[in-house]
Symmetry: C2
Amino acid sequence: MTLPHPFDIATRLEALGDGRYRGATSPDYANMVGPFGGAVAAVMLRTPSIAPDRVGDPTALTVNFCGPIADGAFDVSARPVRTNRSNQHWSMELVQAGETAVTASALFTKRRETWSHTEARFPDVALASELERSGNAFRPPWAQRYDMRFAAGSMPSLKDEPPGVEPVSRVWLADDPPRPLDFISLAALCDAFFPRIFLRRPRWTPIGTVSFTVYFHATAASLEAQGERPVLGVAWASRFGNGIFDEHAEVWSDSRELLASAHQVVYFKE
Amino acid sequence: MTLPHPFDIATRLEALGDGRYRGATSPDYANMVGPFGGAVAAVMLRTPSIAPDRVGDPTALTVNFCGPIADGAFDVSARPVRTNRSNQHWSMELVQAGETAVTASALFTKRRETWSHTEARFPDVALASELERSGNAFRPPWAQRYDMRFAAGSMPSLKDEPPGVEPVSRVWLADDPPRPLDFISLAALCDAFFPRIFLRRPRWTPIGTVSFTVYFHATAASLEAQGERPVLGVAWASRFGNGIFDEHAEVWSDSRELLASAHQVVYFKE
């Protein structure tokens, strides 16, 4: 018997009936404080994904991190807000110790073949196999769960002055241990970039994602074709200020298909 | 006595108490079918904005268009999901004829002066005063409510072959009649770009925004300083396919401050 993958343990949900589920944080995906936000986003997306009355596949996901999540159990509720012929809207909420810690919404759509065109450009990067794996030993546990190979914009040393000159990260990412890509793990991967503020201002800063949105362009078939091989992540910021910054990301298959784009606002302390 | 601005009429809400409000669509902001999505987003954002217990200013807004909105009255409910020391999370819902037509979430944060840096670049464009106003006479009513001056990527003629070579729109936008900029009108402006698919495939296609997210970088003071003068909008797409495309946008002040960025997924029919 094969043991479940650590990611599937971290995002496991026990159905309590009536759209309610029980889950728990996992030490494998722990962050500095509480769980890795990407694993939380994956948990939120899993609830409609496993619902028997679900229509289609994920197209949009927004996760709002309303308060801290402590290590341990939590409850998630999910309700289909509206079911249309070719799409479905969901609202989800994560409660721990009687307080709402996370709210989320998801749009599922039936994929159908149409005219297609990709406007974004796959960047000019070395192959994953030609790059060295990033040493994440001094980073929180969740970062060890990803094989990261930076073609550009890696985490600067805290001694670097002046701050990084390449503000866009281009990094090959894969689950460690390897795991076939699906929508749930793609949602988590979209949050697997280190905070953009560390590139522009390489010094210790407490940060936390407050709102996170993923758009899924992939089909289930394209994720299956990707399998366990590394995907290419590209991440950048637009503006830092007033205690907030944003992060934008693209995740590409190794056959140059744009699988997802992601956006988030992050709180930072000074 | 000055009459209210058409935008304030279109986004007017009557408080029914207990976080419930009554509003109505306005013919001034009508779209092909139902109301302009930007006006709906503005209505959703207005509910927490006018709540007496509101903390801070808008930082993130996500609006999910779950079903059609008919011309006429609707009800909006808004509840503060969680109030922290420096931020507040809200959930909103718009119901019409007993059905949920829109769900939304908003993050409000107290602005505080911190280190700041803008990574995005203000594009090289002509001044609004040097450009001709776009003739929107054949577009839906809401488009007449904006003074649009394209520096690049204007709506192609349906006779254009091959399709537009400039896939990024750069357009000066202002309310018509003029109105001082605020967070509510900024939310609507973030949706005032014509559908990206018309640039790449200039033929009639039924489309509809399904999920829309705005990140507000501006402070109330920077919006006040902008006043009624045109803002610069930049809009582009990443990928079209499977009946869906995305749109990304930036809105800049004329003093080159990034006021907001916005993201949406749009359904299209073939």
